[in-house]
């Protein structure tokens, strides 16, 4: 077809301009697609990091600090919940499972001369399977003490089930390793040693002080009534405990990554605009330069729609080449950016492992970027060509 041939020849004749147009489109597509991929990866990652425990109530001793996060070390150090109150909580929360938690820290020898000051968590042996999953080994029993080691700690000191560690000089066998747990509302044992509460009490000599009480409520709908019951029971005269539930924590996390998403969408929107203006600019100039030529062609019998078709071919050729290159670049670029971002976000953890950057959404972003590039090129090339074709041939010919 003559107009397609024309379009190709025009692009070749002005190859520098064509090249610049393509670069403009490539940059636009990259900006959109790689930002999309990055935002998507971060969202996936954050969603991955949060252990969803939507049915957990966490009770911590009331402190002057107030609404601190349950894992805040000050809470654990400053105050404790006495056994009497734990019983009251049990009564109030019945029939839901109540898990009192003791937390301390001690020098732990991991064998091979390596040791470190480590968090030690004491849990009733019966409660451990309800709260924590093990990766390898077995849960310890109350009468047969053993330690469960957090996954990062195990990795750092190369510990496997059956190994022997010493907590503050007391020997203990490692019964198993814990699954990674991440940021949860209650406890994070990834860097800790978990021991049965009997052993904990023997070792630390504390039998009446709990740093936290966890209530597992089977039905999310009952969370509020359980909270109220506990509140009634313990905080009637004065505030003795603070009561959180995991929904609040999840809401906080959701708020944070909603903000991250908004931020990235904002940047994405701006780059979308910049890319569009860039493509518009390049295409507009290249068509405007040729208004005279359009006038000549119209004067010797080229129809308006044929002019448009010719420029459409040009825009599509540029748009497709630019978008394909841009799409390829952003697929590669987005991958590396995401990998880098994940490394920063998950430094020292294993959450980033086996994390795939390219899910359907990421591919969707690349396709969106490419379609956007092609569409913008077409609009940008079409509009000035249409304008020129609307003019009387003689007016167009006078243009320069």
């Amino acid at each position: 077809m003559i107009f397609l041939d024309f379009a190709v020849r025009n692009l070749k004749r002005h190859w520098v301009r064509s090249f610049l147009s393509i670069i403009g489109i490539v940059i636009g597509v990259i900006a959109i697609a790689s930002l999309g991929i990055m935002g998507n990866s971060i969202n996936l990652l954050v969603a991955n990091l949060i252990t969803d425990v939507g049915d957990t109530i966490v009770i911590t001793p009331h402190t002057a600090i107030g609404d601190t996060f349950a894992g805040d070390p000050r809470t654990a150090v400053d105050a404790t919940i006495p056994a009497r109150q734990v019983d009251e909580i049990r009564r109030a929360a019945s029939p839901h499972r109540v898990i009192p938690v003791q937390q301390g820290a001690d020098e732990v020898e991991f064998g091979g001369g390596e040791s470190g000051y480590t968090q030690v968590i004491g849990l009733d042996a019966e409660d451990i399977p309800a709260l924590l999953d093990i990766k390898v080994g077995q849960y310890p029993r109350q009468n047969q003490p053993g330690a469960l080691v957090g996954t990062y700690l195990a990795e750092e000191y190369d510990i496997s089930p059956g190994a022997r560690i010493a907590i503050g000089g007391d020997d203990l066998r490692v019964a198993g390793l814990l699954e990674e747990r991440g940021f949860a509302a209650d406890i994070n044992p990834d860097y800790a040693v978990v021991v049965p509460s009997a052993w904990y009490r023997d070792h630390f000599g504390t039998d009446d002080a709990y740093s936290m009480v966890i209530i597992r409520v089977g039905d999310v709908g009952e969370i509020d009534s359980v909270k109220d019951a506990v509140d009634d029971q313990l905080n009637r005269r004065e505030e003795t405990v603070d009561i959180f539930d995991s929904r609040e924590l999840l809401r906080q996390y959701e708020e944070i990554y909603r903000q991250i998403t908004t931020f990235l969408v904002g940047i994405g929107g701006i780059s979308l605009l910049v890319a569009a203006v860039n493509i518009l600019n390049v295409m507009y100039i290249s068509v405007t330069e040729r208004i005279r030529e359009i006038g000549i062609m119209r004067s010797i019998g080229v129809l308006r729609r044929e002019v448009l078709r010719m420029f459409l071919y040009e825009a599509v050729i540029l748009g497709v080449i630019g978008s394909v290159i841009g799409g390829a670049f952003s697929a590669v670029g987005g991958y590396f950016i995401s990998v880098a971002a994940i490394e920063v976000f998950t430094a020292g953890t294993t959450f980033g492992e086996n994390f795939t950057v390219f899910d359907l959404t990421a591919v969707g972003f690349v396709i969106f970027g490419m379609l956007f590039g092609i569409a913008t090129s077409i609009v940008a090339g079409f509009y000035p060509a249409w304008k020129a074709a609307q003019q009387q041939p003689i007016e167009a010919m006078r243009h320069d």
């Binding site: 004749r13 004067s299 044929e306």
Partner: protein, 224 residues
């Protein structure tokens, strides 16, 4: 049929609105061009000759007045009809040649044929036209920018004649040619006219005007 004039102008004015004031390029011009006529349009520079020719060629629209081509009011025709009219019925030779820079001399001549349904013989027709214009064969593949003014003019005339139009409009067809080539071109136009083509030609050269059968004088946008 034959008594319907090829072109009829009725009180045609063309006014260019400029910030410094309106320029009246044509002032209530009425004229008729009969089939088979050979007309020379003369007048001083800036008198409106090109404007007149552009209006005849449907390249521009009048500010007021009516233009009839073969009896049809062109203001009632849509753009596609006007474009096809330019393509099939009118051959236009521009004062500034207006060749398409992208295309070689031969392709420029071929272009109007390619736009028509019978494009098969386009290459033959183009070569034939350029031969008639005496253009050296080695120049056929040259781009307009690689041709002299006179060579470009011959290509432009070849392009105007290639679709065998009934009406030929020439703006200074010999302006850039030496006497010998100029004469050859004029003989060619006269030959076309003998074959029944209607020709309207703008010229400054009284000798060239002699080829025409009728002279239209124009001064300050008015016929005299």
């Amino acid at each position: 049929m034959s008594d319907i004039p090829v072109i009829r102008f009725e009180d045609v004015s063309k006014i260019y609105p400029l910030p410094a004031g309106d320029v009246v390029a044509l002032d209530r011009v009425s004229l008729t061009v009969e089939r088979g006529e050979f007309i020379a349009v003369m007048g001083p520079s800036g008198s409106g000759k090109s404007t007149l020719l552009n209006l005849m060629g449907c390249l521009d629209v009048p500010t007021s007045g009516k233009i009839y081509l073969s009896g049809k009011d062109i203001s009632g025709m849509n753009d596609d009809e006007l474009t096809r009219l330019r393509r099939d019925q009118i051959g236009f030779v521009f004062q500034q040649f207006n060749l398409i820079p992208l295309l070689s001399a031969l392709e420029n001549v071929e272009f109007p044929v390619v736009l028509t349904p019978d494009r098969e013989k386009s290459r033959e027709r183009a070569v034939e036209m350029l031969r008639a214009m005496d253009l050296e064969e080695e120049l056929y593949t040259h781009k307009p920018s690689e041709l002299s003014g006179g060579q470009q003019q011959r290509v432009a005339i070849a392009r105007a004649l290639v679709n065998d139009p009934a009406l030929i409009l020439c703006d200074e067809p010999t302006g850039n040619l030496d006497t010998k080539t100029g004469t050859a071109i004029m003989n060619l136009l006269a030959e076309e006219n003998r074959k029944g083509k209607t020709i309207v030609m703008v010229t400054h050269d009284p000798k060239v005007a002699e080829y025409a059968h009728r002279l239209i004088q124009i001064v300050d946008g008015r016929l005299v």
